[in-house]
Symmetry: C2
Subunit: 537 residues, 2 copies
């Protein structure tokens, strides 16, 4: 059977935009000779629609769109993801559904069996579970549809569909990118196809929606586990595969760093565009975080749409300014320099006599960071650029950053990338295009430059150690005893865990952060602020 | 049967603190002659524990605490809420459970049947559902336990327990305060008791945990619907009721404004204390929002623990300064004045020539608001006071506020109170204690004073209309057509809805806001930022 994998990039809430995209794909699939075209989960509302689902007009528009699209299915059938009320009564719960459009009408509907409620998923908040999947007859073939149950969760419905003698299994999904997940996912799909004894067609969403980046890379796999086709990663695609024929186009997936790079480029580009902006502004310190963020934004939006601000204080060293200028030149972005010394002095004058002599040094450091934040936001307001935050995951985790200061911005581009991985990403960027990021930016010791001769390692453990603890505590949800049991230093482990717990309040007010590792410091982390916890006690 | 309602105020994550409290209550209940003492839902971990549940040591501590507390139950049985793994295998799902401690051991455990997953509740993220409730024998009586299923959700378990001939129904809950909910809740419990033909003992948590304020007001109701006893609202309490005897102590509930006032006082006090602070700092503008916030904080923490900052700019009128000083005197709080004119000029100098002549006026307005934010945060850093944000719900909804400016703070005290209700609250405060809030603060037209002769109504509809649209769109989840169908102006309805949608990005970075209406702009609202929606189209 010839099936088209239609991998689209919907904007959440934009039902009319998605309807047009889906309509064009059905026409194209028909031209390409496909008997069936498959779209991703909730293709009509975009994924994840969140509380937009509580607006009844969105759900109603999604139901109307399915009916309107049915008309286009006279020659090629389509499986289209949408949301609908479970009944015609007001206040009825919703269903996460896929409609089979065939012969000009809605021929069948399958409702998602197990709405996902973990990590970034909140589906039980909106959707009631549907019955176990049945097969549907499409062009004479028994097709079993499952909605976004990533393997291994899908093992139960797959068994059920095998028992129902499904000839093809279609898995309709919206599976966010996560570093290292792609290969595992494909291997599990391969095993699924073999155990079901039927080809598996897996169609994923692509594009960034707020924190989440969907990588696409939809695949078709034959009953014997052979890859029949793979769509592009990180881009829209329409690929027709023949489930009975030889393998067709298989796009390469790229290595992990390349995937990370493309995920971040797509994420920042889509966030900016889908928020209705076309350009960004960010502070350029001469350090590695702002350099990598600027490089990603330049790739996503074009260097002409990136404005860098270099905002030196009395503590900025000449090398930092040189690095900032060198970076701007290499990327081809505009750089504006605004010194903060006079403003800093005006604050000192205004606050003279109000603070005790032994007031914490962080007071003055934060004043400087917040002056910079204010200037970046003023450029954003005056020129209409979306501001980008440049902090990395290690900083956000430990609270080594200033709320309303360097944390300012509409999006934290590398806020889910640990510092050690930021370095690798910088090297990767320079391998792709030599000398994008100045060598001295990569090699000098990291510093916030908010007091004389400051370095990050005055307050933080070495980043290799910090990131090792961070990954175990946050991503792997290990506790103090488990981490120390793996041989990490007890004192430093306790210190890092306490810093992470104590800075929950900063992350609560942080800009959304592109999720690329798991779980992120974002909506997927729901830790209380006012709480009492003790590491290892 | 003599049952003690133990209404405690736990700190989330503080299992050892809760264990102590629970232990003391069991001893006291035994002294008071109770045969059974009942605690609120998840009393040992505090509610809501959120992602702390993913830290296995917290759950383990909660399980150990139940075993330790069992020893205290030799004379008086206890029902204690805790979290436990569903099985002894690593990675097993969790259960939201209540242990019956009796005769010195854990005699039975009931698991919550329907973990709540709506509004502020996320329980399906952590807990798997338990079986329908059975009765347990306590001191010779058949007791049916249900966990936090607010009526009317509880109708099914109540029917089941009636069929199981439960002699007493115990409802163990953590039900957050919501304006106007209390009376409804009690009426539904009354009907529940009558339909079950058995007394209902309803024990609620009390205290603030981040955004949520639990009001307590636990009650016992006889089989014929008579109120047998009511605990204090907004305070810890231990009340022994006799389910076979005459009504005992019934604390008054107070009117709606009094409840709102007490909820906010408890919420801000607990947030500050549970975060480990004892004092706060906030900007005092002479306007009503900061005046009400300061009055609430003074009541919660004592005026000696509240520092007001008056931060006049070139646009501040003399009347505002007078109002600020009068307020500080009436409340007995310290007021420090720091003019921002010199700092404002330093920004103007630094930015000269960088912006076009027609740059949006909001640029300069925001610079001023952010200068104030920076100063408030500097006082917080230097003196160790927790900063409070003073914005109201109408502002946060429409985005009529400056991110990183007046939105700075650790907690938004009145961020879920619409402006029209802020005025009522101010009047209520002055009725309780005359002249707390200056009359001119209440009567003058509201203004941000960020440009000459500015008033809120230049950019916003009258607050009565704005709040009417806001309540319908956000709290009641009505769409454009429904709101206009109720007779509200179409143009202004569209404008307000668009403002609400467009400022999602600001709320995402707002301080946590005390939830007092429903649903709030806080964790309970999960709307995407980058989306495309059109009001009424």
């Amino acid at each position: 059977m010839k099936i088209a994998l239609a991998q689209i990039n919907p904007t959440v809430g934009d039902v009319s935009g998605s309807t047009e995209k889906i309509g064009r794909c059905i026409v194209q699939a028909e031209r390409d000779g496909a008997e069936l075209v498959v779209f991703s989960e909730l293709a009509l509302t975009g994924y994840p629609p969140g509380d937009l689902l509580s607006e009844s007009d969105l759900v109603a528009a999604s139901v109307r769109a399915v009916e309107a699209l049915a008309d286009k299915s006279r020659k090629t059938a389509a499986l289209v993801g949408f949301a609908r009320p479970a009944a015609d009564t007001p206040g009825a719960p919703l269903e996460n559904a896929v409609a089979l459009l065939e012969g000009g009408k809605v021929a069948a509907v399958h409702v998602k069996t197990s709405p996902a409620t973990y990590d970034v998923f909140d589906e039980r908040r909106y959707f009631r579970p549907g019955p176990p999947p049945e097969t549907m007859l499409v062009a004479g073939k028994r097709i079993g549809v499952i909605i976004c149950e990533d393997p291994p969760d899908a093992s139960r419905p797959v068994t059920r569909l095998r028992d129902a003698r499904a000839e093809i299994i279609v898995n309709v999904t919206a599976s966010p990118f996560q570093l290292g997940k792609g290969a595992t996912r494909e291997e599990l799909l391969r095993r699924q196809a073999i155990s079901a004894g039927a080809p598996v067609v897996y169609v994923n969403q692509v594009g960034g929606n707020d924190e989440l980046v969907f990588d696409g890379a939809s695949v078709a796999i034959s009953a014997d586990g052979t890859l029949l086709g793979r769509c592009k990663g990180f881009d829209e695609d329409l690929l027709v595969v023949d489930t009975d024929g030889p393998p067709g186009r298989c796009e390469p997936t790229g290595g992990e760093l390349e995937q990370l790079y493309r995920a971040l480029v797509l994420g920042v580009g889509d966030y900016v565009r889908k928020c209705g902006f076309c350009s960004v502004v960010l502070g350029i310190s001469g350090g590695i975080d702002s350099a990598v963020t600027a490089a990603l934004a330049s790739e996503a939006l074009g260097p002409q749409n990136v404005l860098g601000l270099v905002l030196p204080s009395r503590y900025s060293c000449e090398g930092s300014l040189t690095d900032a200028r060198e970076l701007a030149e290499a990327l081809g972005i505009k750089l504006i320099e605004v010194g903060i010394e006079q403003i800093h002095r005006a604050y000192e004058d205004a606050l003279t006599g109000h603070f005790p002599k032994d007031a914490p040094g962080v007071t003055d450091e934060n004043i400087q960071a917040r002056i910079r934040g204010n200037i970046i936001m003023a450029f954003s307001n005056a020129l209409g650029h979306l501001p980008l935050a440049t902090g990395n995951k290690s900083e956000l985790a430990t609270g080594y950053c200033t709320l309303y200061g360097d944390m300012c911005g509409g999006l934290g581009v590398i806020g889910d990338v640990p510092k050690t991985l930021v370095y690798k990403l910088a090297r990767f960027i320079n391998e792709k295009t030599p000398q994008r990021i100045p060598e001295s930016t990569i090699t000098k010791p990291p510093s916030a430059e908010l007091k004389p001769d400051q370095t990050d390692q005055e307050k933080l453990p070495p980043y290799e150690l910090l990131d090792a603890i961070l990954t175990r505590y946050v991503d792997e949800a290990k506790d103090f005893d488990q981490i120390v049991g793996e041989g990490l230093d007890a004192e430093q482990t306790r210190e890092v865990i306490e810093m992470i717990q104590a800075s929950e309040y900063k992350r609560r007010q942080a800009a959304p952060v592109l999720k690329v590792t798991s779980p992120p410091f974002g909506p997927a982390r729901r830790a209380p602020i006012a709480s009492r916890r003790k590491a290892g006690q």
